[in-house]
Symmetry: C2
Subunit: 159 residues, 2 copies
DNA sequence: ATTAAATAGTTTATATGTATACTATATATA
DNA sequence: TATATATAGTATACATATAAACTATTTAAT
């Protein structure tokens, strides 16, 4: 498809202004984002909605307080409100007001949401294997190693 | 800062469901996005606005048609309209209606936009060097090589 | 030449994200 | 106890993104 092919070509402007590493990292990010979007769109959700669903799926059966979810996902309170609104509209999640501390709202997964999430997790696991099939095992471990060093360097040079 | 540190830790849910490579790639993307956001925010622009500015800066002095910019950036027409609106409001760009083909609108950089963009490009170049200072030269070229192979594999397995 | 189709840009609806103000409730302090 | 502060969630304003409908204009086709 055209968009992925173009993403592979890269950006005209970065050639002259940035380190080749940053160029390739940004291209990789963009490609990864694009294929993730396509994967999750085929299930009628977004990557972010998937994150919420998996957190609830892996979390306690009593559900989780909205602010707990927000902290795990590193997104703001207002954003969680909107995400839960839309997941509730899709029937995957419901809200329960805490009767002891009436400020708190628990997000609880519905039966439908549970089955749906289980399926998407399974398919996602298979999908990630598929898109990495062309890399050798040594290449994978080398890449992991390099990426971790890179992450640490970037974070510590930006604090 | 808290957010970057947390991004380094990774996502609780991916440990069990995805290949470690995808995990580290997503972490790297998130960290890179976060530090880019912070860099560009300090200039009062976004990464996307910077892309528009650089395209105009490097482009012909007569300016460029909105749809040309959109094609280079891989974003939709409506998005370009909004981006040019906001850059115009900031005084970095102005619109000129094409008198020959009256459907077309040219985005032209102002003198202020030109000086501003030149400065940000210079600073960005220095900044990318800074955040990659901890990587050895061989590590950088190895990373580039692996990322290119990865990109190709992902794109071709997704077509 | 008149009509149909393509093109360029804007507008609108929706999703996603932040920051900030606001409401309600709970906790700490004086 | 009364007041101040902190906390939880929602509402609002804005930036960013897409898709789809719409307007205006140009080009192609009959």
């Amino acid at each position: 498809m055209a968009k992925l092919q173009k993403l592979l070509e890269g950006y005209i402007w970065v050639d002259e202004i940035a380190n080749q590493v940053v160029v390739e990292l940004k291209k990789t990010s963009d490609i990864l984002e694009e294929v993730h979007n396509r994967f999750f769109e085929s299930y009628g959700i977004s990557n972010t909605k998937f994150n919420v669903l998996v957190i609830l799926y892996k979390g306690p059966s009593e559900g989780m307080i909205l602010s707990e979810i927000g902290e795990l996902m590193l997104v703001t309170k207002g954003n969680i409100t909107g995400l839960i609104d839309r997941l509730e509209k899709q029937g995957y999640v419901k809200r329960i007001r805490d009767e002891i501390d009436r400020r708190k709202v628990t997000a609880l997964m519905t039966e439908e949401g549970n089955l749906f999430t289980k399926q998407v997790i399974d398919d996602y696991r298979e999908w990630t294997k598929k898109i990495l099939l062309h890399l050798e095992t040594e290449e994978k471990s080398l890449l992991i190693q390099l990426l971790k060093k890179l992450q640490n360097g970037i974070v510590h040079s930006s604090l």
